[in-house]
């Protein structure tokens, strides 16, 4: 202690002060010029990865469009993509990195319900908005302080639609086969109760995914002699279950969801095993200009609803910041302004990002409708007014049967 005299202390203090000042300066500089980071946690690998690649591409298109229109508050936006590996653990690591290191204002994508449930607390604790395309009802029941926005229909809604549809097909005995997910039991309960109300009966079985064969599970299901089997799994397990159902000679109806019965599945399963299976597909806003524009930019003939949603995640975060009266660029500003730019009844309706950005920046009222839909959110963060399509596999290809 005796070695520290007044003069040295003064020098040290000045030095430290100078350092603090310079770091302050550099951070404010950074805020003015550096890109605004928007995170994306999407499944590029693993069981839920069928839409991962197009989700990433759609987000990149939103990034390019917003940046070529001048960015948000004079700053470009930058998408930081992390792979959740269809695994909640990997997703938590990715979320920590995005929130703590990249300092993102919002995280989009977030597809599997298990993944979303795992990263949601990190998001609201870190005051970062989470835009999710997952279905489990439990997600928006979490104490998320408004930081969660869901652009996908909930499990209850999807389960109800599947149940009603199966009843309309004339089925009386329903059996649900699906892997362990946060929503499997709710599906069994919801669909069974619909069947009971219609004078039929329903039950189900939750299996372990990652199996090479589901023969015994199929045997258990067939013991109930159901006339419709609801398939609640993702593509890898659903493809095996469908084959095993075919081998077992099941001739009843098969109804599934778009995350299990989709183009990836019809390519993976011989036509004789998948033929006749119905799929409930949350529909993108396919007649909108926004959808047509996005599909054209992606050089595709058709785009799934989930990739459209991820495009909208990026746009919603950007528009909210552009509109924020406080001028702040953080997660709370995103949270407080999403509804102002997506569902302002007095706002000018537009489905063009560039238009919407100009309006938002000029302080005018704007109501953005994206390729995924009208994007109006209830108080708990769930999206309202979702369209569904019913598709059926015919000769190994999905054909639209009904839009409703």
């Amino acid at each position: 202690m005796s070695k520290i005299d007044r003069r040295n202390l003064l020098r040290a203090g000045l030095g430290a002060g100078g350092l603090m000042l310079s770091s302050n300066l550099s951070s404010s500089w950074a805020q003015q010029n550096d890109p605004i980071q928007i995170g994306l946690i999407i499944p590029l690998t693993g069981a839920t990865s069928q839409f991962g690649a197009t989700m990433g591409q759609a987000a990149k298109i939103a990034e390019t469009e917003i940046n070529s229109a001048g960015g948000v508050r004079g700053r470009p936006i930058q998408i930081v993509i992390e792979d959740d590996q269809s695994n909640p653990e990997a997703a938590v690591r990715a979320a920590h990195k995005l929130i703590d290191v990249d300092k993102v204002v919002a995280i989009g994508g977030s597809y599997a319900s298990a993944v979303t449930s795992a990263i949601a607390p990190l998001c609201w604790e870190g005051r970062t908005v989470l835009f999710t395309s997952s279905g489990a009802d439990s997600i928006t029941k979490l104490p998320h302080q408004g930081y969660i926005f869901r652009t996908s229909p909930t499990v209850t809604l999807q389960g109800t639609r599947v149940g009603d549809f199966a009843v309309k097909l004339g089925a009386k005995k329903m059996f649900f086969l699906g892997p362990q997910t946060p929503f499997a039991q709710s599906y069994i309960d919801i669909i069974s109760s619909i069947f009971k109300a219609a004078g039929g009966s329903g039950s189900g079985l939750i299996y372990e995914d990652k199996k090479a064969s589901y023969r015994s599970e199929v045997d258990q299901a067939l013991k109930e002699s159901p006339d419709v089997i609801v398939l609640g799994g993702y593509v890898p397990d659903t493809s095996v279950v469908l084959k095993d159902l075919y081998r077992a000679g099941f001739s009843g109806k098969k109804v599934g969801f778009s995350f299990g019965i989709n183009d990836a599945l019809t390519k993976a399963v011989p036509a004789e095993a998948s033929n006749g299976a119905y799929s409930l597909v949350p529909s993108a806003s396919e007649n909108s200009e926004a959808y047509k524009h996005l599909v054209e930019k992606m050089k595709l003939s058709h785009l799934d609803s989930y990739s459209c949603q991820v495009y909208d995640h990026v746009v919603l975060a950007s528009l909210a910041l552009a509109h924020a009266p406080s001028g702040k660029v953080d997660g709370t500003a995103v949270r407080d302004n999403v509804r102002a730019i997506s569902q302002d009844s007095e706002g000018k309706r537009t489905d063009d990002v560039v238009d919407a950005l100009k309006l938002a920046a000029s302080g005018a009222h704007v109501n953005y409708d994206g390729p995924s839909g009208a994007l109006e959110f209830a108080d708990n963060g769930d999206v309202k007014g979702v369209f569904f399509r019913y598709e059926q596999v015919e000769e190994g290809k999905l054909v639209v049967r009904k839009v409703g």
Binding site: Q50, L205, I206, K211, A212, R215, Q220, R247, P270, E272
Partner: protein, 295 residues
């Protein structure tokens, strides 16, 4: 009830037959090289992809497809072993087997991601018709799966003949028993190591192709099953070839029979409790001390 038990036993045999070949491969490599090569999962996937390409691009029949899978998985196994694992084995210490095993997990991940890069994450199906099951009494049996079981058992018998009748097979057993003594007798362990890796990985490749014919192939096909394969091999004693087959078949059967009493979500639990019980009762595996690669 009895038909249920019979049906689940048959289903279990079918699952077990699928993992028996890779379990044989794992056991063979462990016996001769002395470490658990977890990259066998990636070779299983390699065999599945090779078979899929042979089937969908070249339209080869089943036997030719399986030979393709064997050769590709075996060759890839030897090349990757030489590049990634052999250098670690050269300076042998007491920790080496564990280090090589960990390195093989890393190798497995690298290969899996390489497949993902080339083939994408999608599921790929063989261009083979899918057959309805036959019924024997009240029990359903799949024709494809029955073939798999026959092929697995046939290969195990061939392998047993190879080890007991041929010079090179006996030499392998000698290396497995005692490397130094074998070298004194003029046996070159490195060459045998390559051959053991080739055959072991080739078997895994055939297993992968059969599995993929039954289901489909994607980059994680092998990784999804590696624990079950490893478990089958451990229950069989890790160094006994008949043990690997019996171990794999019993892992399959115990898992399926567990469904009689437990909900399907807990299925892997029954299999792993079975490992614990087996190893508590017989720490060396069911076939410890029995004839195998290592006597």
């Amino acid at each position: 009830m009895l038909t249920d038990v019979l049906q689940y036993l048959v289903n279990g045999l079918i699952v077990g037959a699928l993992i028996a070949l890779p379990a044989l491969g794992l056991t063979l490599i462990f016996s001769v090289l002395g470490f658990v090569n977890f990259s066998i999962a990636a070779q299983l996937t390699a065999g599945a992809y090779a078979g899929w390409l042979a089937n969908t691009l070249l339209h080869l029949p089943l036997i030719a497809v399986l030979i393709c899978s064997f050769v590709v998985a075996g060759a890839l196994g030897v090349v990757t072993d030489r590049i990634a694992l052999a250098p670690i084995r050269r300076k042998s210490t007491s920790q080496t087997p564990l280090m090589v095993a960990i390195a093989s997990i890393a190798l497995n991940m690298a290969l899996e991601n390489a497949y993902r890069f080339y083939f994408g994450s999608g599921l790929n199906s063989f261009d083979m018709p899918i057959a309805r099951d036959m019924k024997i009494g009240a029990v359903r049996i799949g024709r494809q799966q029955l073939h798999n079981l026959e092929i697995a058992i046939g290969l195990a018998v061939l392998l047993a003949l190879f080890f007991s009748l041929t010079r090179i097979g006996k030499a392998m057993r000698a290396v497995a028993d005692n490397v130094d003594l074998a070298r004194l007798k003029g046996i070159e362990p490195v060459r045998l190591a390559n051959l053991a890796t080739f055959i072991g990985m080739g078997l895994a490749g055939i297993g992968g192709a059969l599995l993929a014919i039954d289901t489909s192939v994607d980059p994680s096909t092998g990784s999804r099953l590696i624990l079950l394969i490893f478990a089958g091999s451990v229950v069989g004693g890790l160094t006994s070839l008949p043990g690997a087959v019996v171990g794999a078949l019993s892992m399959g059967m115990i898992g399926e029979l567990g469904l009689l009493v437990l909900p399907p979500v807990y299925q892997s639990l029954t299999a792993f409790v079975a490992i614990l019980v087996t190893l508590l009762a017989r720490p060396g595996g069911i076939f410890s001390g029995a004839t195998g690669v290592r006597r």
